[in-house]
């Protein structure tokens, strides 16, 4: 993106390199994250099918972060499904955080601030959901 070059560094060429490096780093994060998330969900689905769980009628417990390690150790499908789904939701957040640090490192304070604000909006989402009765 040539537009990125002007703000990311003094020299246009090095600015373009920085922008491309950042995009490549974020791309790697998303690719690896997707593979991990899909693998975890796949294990969860296989365990679910093997256990004969009927997905449309089975009752599921409320989401509990504390219960996940125990479910994983016991090879319960919900442990892998919840972990996979959490990785799914963590990927975009990770992208924003990595981008924010990248922008900050490149001296682009405005975009770094924008990244921070996006994370703040997500934090407000979590607080609002918990505040409204979880």
């Amino acid at each position: 993106m040539s537009g990125a070059t002007g703000t990311m560094a003094a020299s246009p060429a090095s600015g373009a390199d920085t922008a491309r490096r950042l995009e490549s780093a974020v791309a790697r994060l998303l690719t690896i994250g997707t593979r991990i998330a899909v693998s975890l969900v796949l294990i969860g689905v296989v365990l679910m099918l093997a256990a004969g769980v009927h997905p449309l009628t089975a009752t599921f417990g409320a989401f509990s972060l504390a219960a996940i390690p125990g479910d994983l150790v016991a090879l319960r499908p919900e442990g892998f499904l919840w972990t996979g789904l959490l990785v799914v939701m963590a990927m975009p957040v990770g992208r924003v955080v990595v981008s924010g640090f990248g922008f900050f490192g490149a001296g682009d304070r405005r975009l770094a601030l924008v990244s921070l604000l996006v994370v703040l909006v997500l934090t407000v989402s979590v607080i609002a959901a918990q505040g409204l009765g979880g």
């Binding site: 537009g3 791309a27 998303l30 899909v38 969860g44 689905v45 989401f63 939701m89 009765g133 979880g134």
Partner: protein
Amino acid sequence: MIAGIVLLAGGAAAGVFGSLLGLGGGILIVPLLTLVFGLPLREAVAVSLVSVIVTSSASAGVYLQRHTANLRLGMVLELFTASGALVGGLVAFLLSDRVLAGLFAALLAWVAVSMLRAGAKSKAAAAQAAVGPSASAQSPSSETVGPAEPAPGSFTATLGGDGYSVRKLPLGMVGSVFAGLVSAILGVGGGIVKVPVMNLVMGVPLKVATATSNMMIGITATSSAVIYLLRGQIDPYVAGPTALGVFAGAMIGSRIAARIDVRLLRWLFVIVLIFNAFQMGTKALAQ
């Protein structure tokens, strides 16, 4: 066991269709889960949001690797889509299933009409190309019409890319808030709003607008998905197979896209959308 496999297959079908037609799977997943599998609408929206995050992250990785998506513009606009999604995620719990079904019916009808118009435009463009280049030169495309370039050194000027400048950023921000609202309430990616706003209003080339919108879906959908998660609306037994199916379907779709006649598919899809809109509309009126 069969229900799990059917969910996987249904998700895969939504993923293939969505990928071939350039749509996220959400527009198909929500009707599939509510009308076929009988899931409550709000639960279907939550499952759909998780599914669109998976496909968005997978395709955003590819787009960023190829440097097609505009990371800087995406970051700025997703602040507004995320804010819209935060509000939408909270508003969704205040709306009755009847209202949600009515809104979804309206969205389906809108997408069907948009697809018909897009089909008619591409037909007209093909006819114009057959007449000759001089004819097409007389009617400039939307990308060449617009206000002056942003002032050099302004924040907006730093958001452009190779061969294009970003215009009307404030309008883009407003459109993004609306896209976030739609995404959170109806469980879709919001590309149906973001892509036209970026392309027609902000002057971003269609290919870049599509890639950037796709990248933004992840954060938009996550903003509201966490609300659905913490309020107990995400069923992992349904979300798991559906998201897996949509992911696999989207991968298959991207590989077979070049060999498929999209015109026929578009017509088939429009019929499916109209049928679903009718069903959703009936649900809204009947409950």
